[in-house]
């Protein structure tokens, strides 16, 4: 187990550093950062001054090493626009994104689990087909468009929910539902597949032979085994959702991490952009690691591979 753990942690770290390197290269190699920062009306002296002030005149590997060394101590640099520390900015915006992400995940699970179980119990029937149609609709719905449509119908026409702001829990309902839609298809399909497999297994036949009722079989025995892959995918899906929340945060003007990233891209505030990419990558890598460990803990067969 310890060996397995060590291998996974090293791999996760390697992935994080690689993503960091790629995002760093992306911001440096695709154009002259100093020209972008100085703005369209800058003279060549201004640009030279910017280059010197921000340390952009040093060789790229030196800049990268410097940035990584600082990032490792939690210092992600200074925002060009806000003039404050990037770590502070992220900490300030994090609660909004986390609230949105958790709301989205909760709604997604609340829809996907019952739907997946229902589809598995009625495998191959009309109900199953309807469930997969719902998953397909969820997959095809552009999330920014769904957000706008919800705003028009629930916000403006029916006036049930506030259209923007972050004041109360009601502000998170529409963004949460919109975000949930991006996670429902994968979670539902997995629950369905897991339940079908679990229901076909010998131990379920045994419980059945022992005379347990359908409710007890489905909920206590089959679901517990089908839940394993769902839990790990839910963790990974949560990472994807946090990354995808950028669109929803922009649509609903929620000032979270995604909004910060979008804003900073438009303002050429690259220390912030890099930090947001790094943050989301680390969250994703961390969640995948967690999912792997959780699976290995629940299923000893996975540890040997």
């Amino acid at each position: 187990m310890l060996h397995f753990l060590a291998r996974r942690v090293v791999l996760a770290l390697l992935v994080a550093v690689t993503v960091l390197g790629i995002s760093f290269a992306l911001t440096r190699l695709s154009g002259d950062l100093a020209i972008s920062i100085a703005g369209p009306n800058a003279t060549s002296e201004d640009i030279a001054q910017v280059r010197k002030n921000y340390g952009l005149d040093r060789p790229l590997p030196v800049q990268f090493a410097d940035w990584v060394a600082h990032a490792a101590t939690g210092d992600l640099g200074t925002s060009y626009f806000y003039k404050g520390s990037v770590s502070g900015l992220i900490a300030e915006r994090l609660p909004v994104t986390l609230t949105l992400g958790l709301t989205g995940l909760a709604i997604a699970l609340a829809v996907a689990l019952p739907l997946g179980i229902l589809a598995a119990l009625h495998e191959g029937t009309l109900i199953d087909r309807m469930a997969s149609l719902i998953a397909m609709i969820g997959q095809a719905m552009p999330s920014f468009w769904l957000g706008l449509v919800l705003m028009i119908t629930l916000g403006l026409n029916l006036q049930w929910l506030p259209i923007s702001g972050t004041g109360s829990w009601q502000n998170y309902v529409m963004p949460g539902v919109t975000l949930a839609f991006t996670g429902i298809p994968a979670l539902m399909r997995l629950t369905r597949a897991g339940m079908i497999e679990a229901l076909a297994s010998d131990y379920i036949r045994t419980t059945r032979a022992n005379g347990l009722g359908p409710a007890s079989i489905v909920l206590k025995h089959a679901l517990r085994n089908a839940a394993m892959p769902v839990v790990s995918i839910a963790a990974v899906q949560f990472g994807f959702m946090l990354g995808g929340s950028i669109v929803i945060e922009v649509v609903f003007a929620l000032h979270g991490i995604g909004y910060l990233g979008w804003e900073s891209i438009l303002k050429n505030d690259f220390p912030v952009v890099q930090a947001v990419v790094l943050f989301l990558a680390i969250v994703y890598v961390g969640l995948t690691l967690l999912a792997d460990l959780l699976n290995a803990m629940l299923d000893p067969r996975l540890r040997s591979s």
Partner: protein, 304 residues
């Protein structure tokens, strides 16, 4: 269906679940066939619209007419028969823009799939065939790609290089190869163990020959299914990037950009976002239905 599956169905029927009358299975087949046909028709219509766009448009999609702004569609109150789907905030004909928008979506979808299919397919085949360290490297690349926040990285790339159709395609192509790689890798591993590959190797064929002539034709079916999924995803992502202001540049009529430009008027005239959004939704669902059907027809759903 596997043997276990049949057993389960029998058993479940005794248990009183998933009771399957003969007619439900007929309905199911009819629904699936109808779904595939529906998907094929949608994709075909959009493709033809895209190809013949200049012949179909009633107006110049770029011509502004500030005296006729936000005219509602012909079927709504206050609409005019001259503009079937109305006009946008600067008086451009909405139907004409929608038709040209089909060009952008289809072009981006196809080009992205070609680019990402080449990248992902190559990586997956190489990893699956050679195994060992090479495979570890491919898996590592896939993991790294998945760890990069897709939309954020695409936005950053487009904002730095400048927005254009080519940039959007290259960015998406460089980002969406992961599923191709995963599927190609697994399919190659399965094929590699078969006798005809050993025979080719024993006959002294070069790895390049084996990979392109023996492996590739045998894994092309699951890759075709992935291609439909990725095409749908690429079209949605282009619309998202354009909506966020960092995709296809104006005045090009990308559906996502149309929604972004009309957003400020959506509370007074909701159709300005409904029309391009519905077009996007229908096209993507059409591609997905087609892919779903392809999956069943090619039998890849049983092996995957």
């Amino acid at each position: 269906m596997s043997i276990e599956g049949t057993n389960r169905a029998d058993w479940a029927r005794h248990a009183g679940w998933g009771r399957r009358a003969p007619w439900t299975s007929a309905i199911r087949r009819a629904l699936r066939d109808a779904g595939v046909a529906f998907g094929a028709v949608i994709v075909l219509v959009v493709a033809l619209t895209a190809i013949f766009a200049p012949l179909l448009v009633p107006h110049d999609p770029f011509a502004q007419d500030l005296s006729r702004r936000l005219v509602p569609p012909a079927f709504m109150q206050g609409g005019s028969p001259e503009h079937w789907l109305g006009t946008d905030q600067i008086g451009r004909d909405y139907l004409s823009r929608l038709i040209y928008g089909a060009r952008i979506s289809m072009l981006i979808g196809l080009m992205t799939v070609i680019a990402s299919g080449l990248i992902g397919g190559t990586l997956g085949i190489i990893g699956g065939y050679f195994g060992g360290r090479v495979d570890d490297a491919v898996l590592f690349a896939i993991t790294c790609r998945l760890a990069m926040p897709l939309i954020l990285v695409a936005l950053t790339a487009v904002s730095l290089v400048g927005s254009s159709l080519t940039i959007v395609v290259s960015t998406l192509g460089l980002l969406l190869w992961d599923r191709f790689a995963v599927v190609a890798r697994v399919a190659t591993m399965r094929v590699r163990a078969l006798d005809y590959i050993s025979a080719a190797r024993a006959a002294g064929c070069s790895p390049l020959y084996i990979l392109t002539r023996e492996v590739l034709p045998n894994i092309v079916r699951p890759l075709a299914v992935v291609a439909t999924l990725e095409m749908a995803l690429a079209i949605l992502l282009e619309a998202t990037l354009s909506f966020l202001g960092l995709g296809v540049p104006p005045p090009l009529p990308s559906w996502g950009l149309m929604i972004a430009e009309a957003k400020d008027y959506m509370f007074f005239s909701p159709w300005v976002i409904m029309i391009p959004g519905a077009a996007l939704f229908v096209l993507v669902i059409g591609i997905n239905l087609l892919g779903d059907g392809l999956n069943h027809i090619l039998g890849t759903d049983r092996t995957a």
